[in-house]
């Protein structure tokens, strides 16, 4: 699905969003007023430049548009893989981006991430999973690594992993698994202004977001241990 198609579906009232390399930035009209639109496209590998580009724009929204909701569009194949990126502490730039998204939440901006293509590992962690809530379009790819690569690394036969994946959401790729585990709030069949606006309005009504993903995962039966374990440590 093209970025244009996604933007037209989410923001039929109009949008002014431009693409800089693989970085997406701009704003759009919704029933809740203007929202900031930030993210990546074409399965971007997140290196320093994209991370700092997004971080700077999040800070611009915080400083120049108090309270404006932020919609993140997520399409990333993960972190950039190169020695030069690691030499300058790529984990530090991804952490910086995550802190900027977190600051926006603390300053009263509701945020929502929508996975539009791929959502992989470090790229997903740095902004998509930092938003108040994360949604995914149907047929998107959410993963750490694919099952064949996992079979190689873990030395467990691919067939065995496939068999186990049918019964457990814990390790196999797929937005549906992340939904069951509580990290994805809902899966949308298509880019929908009505769903987007309802989600943002719900978040604004609910007030400052707290991380409820463990509880969702327990309710949905996809992550049965995390919530109870964390609670046991709090009360030990």
């Amino acid at each position: 699905m093209s970025l244009q198609h996604i933007l037209d579906g989410l923001f039929p009232a109009g949008h002014d969003v431009s693409v800089h390399g693989q970085l997406v930035a701009g704003c759009a009209k919704t029933a809740l007023g203007t929202v900031a639109v930030l993210g990546t496209t074409d399965a971007a590998a997140i290196g320093h430049d994209i991370a700092l580009g997004l971080a700077g724009r999040v800070l611009d929204v915080v400083d120049q548009h108090p309270g404006q909701p932020i919609v993140f569009l997520v399409d990333t194949k993960g972190q950039a893989l190169s020695r030069a990126e690691e030499l300058l502490c790529l984990n530090g730039s991804l952490a910086h981006l995550a802190r900027c998204v977190d600051l926006a939440r603390r300053q009263g901006h509701v945020s929502l991430a929508l996975v539009t293509g791929e959502a992989v590992s470090g790229g997903f962690l740095s902004f998509g999973l930092m938003a108040d809530k994360t949604y995914a379009l149907a047929d998107t790819q959410v993963r750490v690594m694919d099952l064949k690569a996992m079979a190689r690394v873990t030395k467990i036969p691919h067939e065995r992993l496939q068999e186990l994946a049918a019964a457990s959401p814990t390790f196999a790729p797929g937005a549906e698994n992340y939904l069951r585990m509580g990290a994805i709030e809902a899966i949308w069949d298509a880019p929908s202004a009505a769903q987007l606006e309802a989600a943002l309005a719900g978040q604004q009504a609910a007030g400052p977001a707290v991380d409820e993903r463990m509880a969702r995962g327990a309710e949905r039966g996809g992550r049965r241990l995390a919530a109870a374990t964390a609670a046991a440590v709090v009360s030990a």
């Binding site: 990126e85 952490a95 802190r99 900027c100 991380d211 995390a226 374990t229 440590v233």
Partner: protein, 304 residues
């Protein structure tokens, strides 16, 4: 060898080689540690059991309370010897629980002894989500005014999501032997080729990810010897002068400017040697041979 030197060497306890439990015992005030969910009160990961992989009752991480220099702290210590310290569902939830407890209890600090390759692939989705929950919980803890101090000097370093988590902490205390990065050299070599990153070239790996490099570029706050007592002293010294700032746009603007300037200044460089030269170090090739104190002195003398 004269007697004082021999004594000093005999007393040194390598942090790199120590187990998580030995680190906890040596870094915190003697006898002060109280473990939450000790092994006898917990279950090993069922996700490993289903793959016929032996689990650990603590799932590779120890959490609890202690004192450090007489001040109350909460503690996380990852065990690199179990599954590479990697984060699975239970492992991650113990860390999140500890951090949430810190928000309520407001200890003087959380001491986070990181030793992890990141997400545990055998429970990949649970691990990735847990890392995200840890990221948010670290920032919640800091926003509650409680500093989170990362110690990085274990055999697995701090890679993947744990590399991101470490950089979200208030400050990092690191040894030369510690490594801090996102993708491991092996991953980059597998994907991009040995010309891009030769993971068997240990000296190169340390020049790109090691403690001295991270210290010179300001990505860790304190450089200490590979010695549990030095990590203890480094953490105490850091805490004594630390004031946790409230989350603010101005702080992140300053970090944005630092990272952007650095990105431009060191564009195209691929080896720590080149970065150190660009920082003004007269003889970059001497850096790997220098002891900790000389390197700290050298950094003080570098142009701002």
């Amino acid at each position: 060898m004269n007697a004082p030197v021999a004594n000093k060497l005999a007393l040194r306890r390598s942090y790199f080689e120590a187990s998580a439990r030995a680190r906890v015992a040596a870094v915190l005030d003697a006898g002060s540690f109280h473990e939450f969910l000790p092994p006898e009160a917990s279950e090993p990961s069922p996700h490993l059991a289903v793959l016929d992989i032996p689990g650990a009752f603590d799932d590779g991480v120890i959490v609890g309370s202690a004192t450090l220099g007489g001040r109350p702290v909460l503690v996380i210590a990852q065990e690199g010897q179990f599954m590479g310290g990697a984060v699975g569902e239970i492992h991650g939830a113990k860390i999140v629980g500890l951090l949430r407890r810190a928000v309520e209890e407001k200890p003087a600090a959380v001491i986070f002894m990181a030793d992890s390759g990141g997400v545990r692939l055998h429970e990949a989705n649970a691990g990735l989500i847990a890392i995200s929950e840890i990221m948010r919980a670290v920032l919640d803890t800091r926003a509650a005014g409680v500093p989170v101090i990362a110690l990085v000097g274990g055999s697995c370093g701090a890679f993947g999501g744990m590399g991101i988590v470490s950089r979200l902490c208030s400050a990092i205390v690191m040894s030369e032997e510690g490594r801090l990065a996102l993708s491991g050299p092996e991953v980059i070599e597998t994907v991009a080729g040995v010309e891009e990153f030769d993971s068997k070239d240990r000296a190169l790996v340390w020049r790109v990810t090691g403690g001295k490099h991270r210290y010179l570029t300001g990505d860790c706050s304190e450089l200490v010897e590979d010695d549990a007592a030095s990590f203890r002293d480094g953490a105490i010294a850091l805490l004594a002068r630390w004031h946790e700032p409230a989350p603010a746009s101005s702080t992140l603007r300053a970090e944005q400017a630092r990272l952007t300037e650095r990105r431009q200044r060191f564009a195209g460089l691929r080896d720590g040697l080149d970065v150190w030269g660009a920082l003004g170090v007269a003889e970059p090739r001497q850096i790997p041979m220098m002891d900790r104190d000389s390197l700290v002195a050298l950094k003080k003398g570098l142009p701002a």
